[in-house]
Amino acid sequence: MAPLQAILEKCRTSPPNILGTLQAVQAAQGYVDPSHVPLIAASLGVTDSDVHGVLSFYHDLRTEPPGKHHIRYCLGDSCVAMKTEKSLAALEKSLKCSIGETTKDGTFTLDKVYCLGNCAHSPAMMVDGEIHGRFTPSTVTKLVKAGRP
């Protein structure tokens, strides 16, 4: 069975849960290929537009393949209070990629989030699920690249 079909098989609940299914697809494939929407819809017994509508609503759901490493950079209020935009500018410059983009070589995807709950150590970011805080414009890039060629 094709991997997509195997994932969809597991997601067939009653009533169907579109978001949960899209998350499962993304977890397995890294993103949701928009051309798979009809297959996903058919599997759930809902319409294409229902799936498309959900896919377009949530910031987490991506329709293009992500980079190898995922940076979730916090632009929440506490981090803003700690001048995080300066570190962000430094990071964007060294990665040559802005929020919402993937580096040309496909190594990093830089996404923004509003708060990681690490506000007591703002500014904060998460790289591949690993939390970082209290970085500065001069340390941020090193943290991101450490162990990630």
Binding site: L19, G76, C119, E130
Partner: protein, 499 residues
């Protein structure tokens, strides 16, 4: 052999707790990973048992490993004034237990509330909640007992209990601490609620930004089920309650309870008009209690010690304690659980230790990105729902973010409006279009293109957003901007730059 306690809360990890724990292990020490005290400015905090209580090494690094293993240089943790001055019950076990150990949890009073509830008439449980005066900690401060009563009184073949663990307000992390540090407390509170209202199925809607919390919750649910605290015939009785974690997908609006329910159903997180209220028509149109994590986490102690005990804390209309979360430009960031009534100034200075060297206080925002901006002169405001309302602010989920003198209030206001514009669900016009228009105006002002009449337009628009938005996102979004304009008017009057 000595045992050392090192937190695995993400804010401790961010400060290097993993590295310290590894260094200690390498030295042959037994390390137990626990929740965090919430005194994050002290993390990594390594603790050790002594006959006179816990002692600890603050801001430990790998280099301190030898010293720590030798047991030297520690100070009593209870004496740390940041902690000593707090009144903790929701976070009483913070930093003391292994988050996933049911034994640890039970040895410190865990599941006593639920055990009691299992033997009680459901109405008695709700009565106890009403006596406690507990108001929701998610922002709207609605009396929890009244909500539970409504769901209990609505007949249906299926009812649900949903924990709002979306904790969307930047600058807050108390829900996260419970989920990571003491997941059984949340489970216990939800089970008590389910038993009271007659629900058999529960969900924890957790934000995707908290992967650690999600992992721990899932593990805790599995263990609690195995131990008979969840699932079929709980503790051998007739009560069934199944619990599941559902993960959000990056949408602030899904913290709003009706959007949350839509999202939990797998749909677009669009706000529903109320009525019908979720307590009557919630998940899949069935009666559903939606409460904040902290609200649920307060229930076990209320059941265990009695509603009257809870009601004896706090102020007339704000009973109990409030877990405040100090963030932004403060020296001592962390969780502060105190009875209502303490002033904002005390929170920032007595607990937060004021601002770091080189920084001067400029403003503080309480209650998340929709909360008002308070200047120095409002620091005497006591922290409670009503006093805050009187002062034109909200307490929200208890987030306190301090800004220093370098903060550009126009840019900050623009940031808030951008947040609203990006997080607006898009259902209602004042918020959907208004937030973008307001952001544009602030952008123009920031860039020196502002005109006096733009401020008038902004005020007029803000009023329409406040008064006519469908939910509180659009309805509160103007507050930080309007208060910034009110208290820092000069910054908004900058003349066009001449260059």
């Amino acid at each position: 052999m000595k045992r050392f306690y090192v937190s695995n809360d993400i804010s401790a990890l961010s400060a290097g707790a993993d590295r310290v724990a590894a260094a200690l292990s390498k030295k042959g020490a037994a390390v137990v990973r626990t929740s965090s005290r919430g005194a994050f400015f002290l993390e990594p905090l390594v603790e050790m048992d002594t006959s006179s209580g816990r002692v600890g090494w603050t801001n430990a690094t790998e280099k301190d490993a030898s010293k720590i293993v030798s047991g030297k240089g520690a100070q009593p943790v209870d004496k740390v004034s940041f902690l000593a001055k707090q009144t903790r019950f929701t976070f009483a076990r913070a930093g003391l237990i292994d988050p996933l150990s049911i034994e640890d949890f039970k040895s410190r009073g865990g599941f006593r509330g639920l055990q009691k509830a299992l033997g009680m008439d459901p109405q008695k449980i709700i009565d106890e909640m009403k006596v406690s005066g507990l108001r929701g900690r998610g922002g709207a401060a609605f009396p929890a007992g009244v909500k539970w009563q409504t769901t209990k009184d609505t007949a249906a073949d299926q009812k649900y209990v949903v924990a709002n663990a979306d904790e969307g307000d930047p600058g807050t992390y108390s829900d996260r601490m419970i989920m990571e540090g003491e997941p059984y407390r949340l489970i216990e509170g939800m089970a008590i609620c389910a038993r009271a209202v007659g629900a058999t199925k529960g969900y924890i809607y957790a934000r995707s930004e908290y992967p650690h919390a999600i992992r721990k919750l899932r593990a805790a649910i599995a263990r609690a089920t195995e131990a008979g605290w969840l699932g079929h015939k709980i503790q051998g009785g007739a009560f069934d309650f199944e619990l599941e974690v559902f993960v959000g997908a990056g949408a602030y609006i899904c913290g709003e309870e009706t959007a949350l329910l839509e999202s939990l159903e797998g749909k677009r997180g669009m706000v529903r008009p109320k009525p019908p209220f979720p307590a009557i028509e919630g998940l899949h149109k069935k009666p559903t209690v939606v409460n904040n994590v902290i609200t649920f986490a307060s229930a076990p102690d209320i059941l265990d010690r009695g509603g009257a005990w809870h009601a004896s804390m706090g102020t007339e209309k704000s009973k109990g304690t409030m877990p405040l979360q100090l963030a932004g430009c403060v020296k001592q960031g962390g969780l502060v659980e105190i009875p209502f009534g303490v002033t904002l100034e005390s929170a920032i200075y007595d607990f937060g230790g004021g601002l770091p060297k080189g920084s001067k206080f400029k403003a503080v925002q309480v209650g998340g990105p929709l909360g008002s901006i308070f200047p120095e002169k409002l620091l005497k405001t006591p922290i409670c729902f009503d006093e805050f309302a009187k002062a034109g602010g909200i307490l929200g989920h208890g987030g306190i973010v301090v800004f220093d003198q370098e903060t550009n209030m126009v840019e900050l206001s623009r940031h808030f409006m951008e947040f609203t514009a990006e997080e607006s669900c898009g259902k209602c016009t004042p918020c959907r279009v208004g937030s973008t228009r307001a952001r544009e105006i602030l952008e123009q002002i920031r860039d020196g293109q502002g005109r006096p009449e733009d401020l008038e337009t902004l005020k007029d628009l803000s009023d329409t957003m406040k008064m006519t938005s469908l939910c509180a996102l659009g309805g509160l979004a103007p507050y930080p901007v309007l208060t910034a304009m009110q208290y820092f008017p000069k910054e908004f009057e900058r003349k066009p730059k001449t260059r």
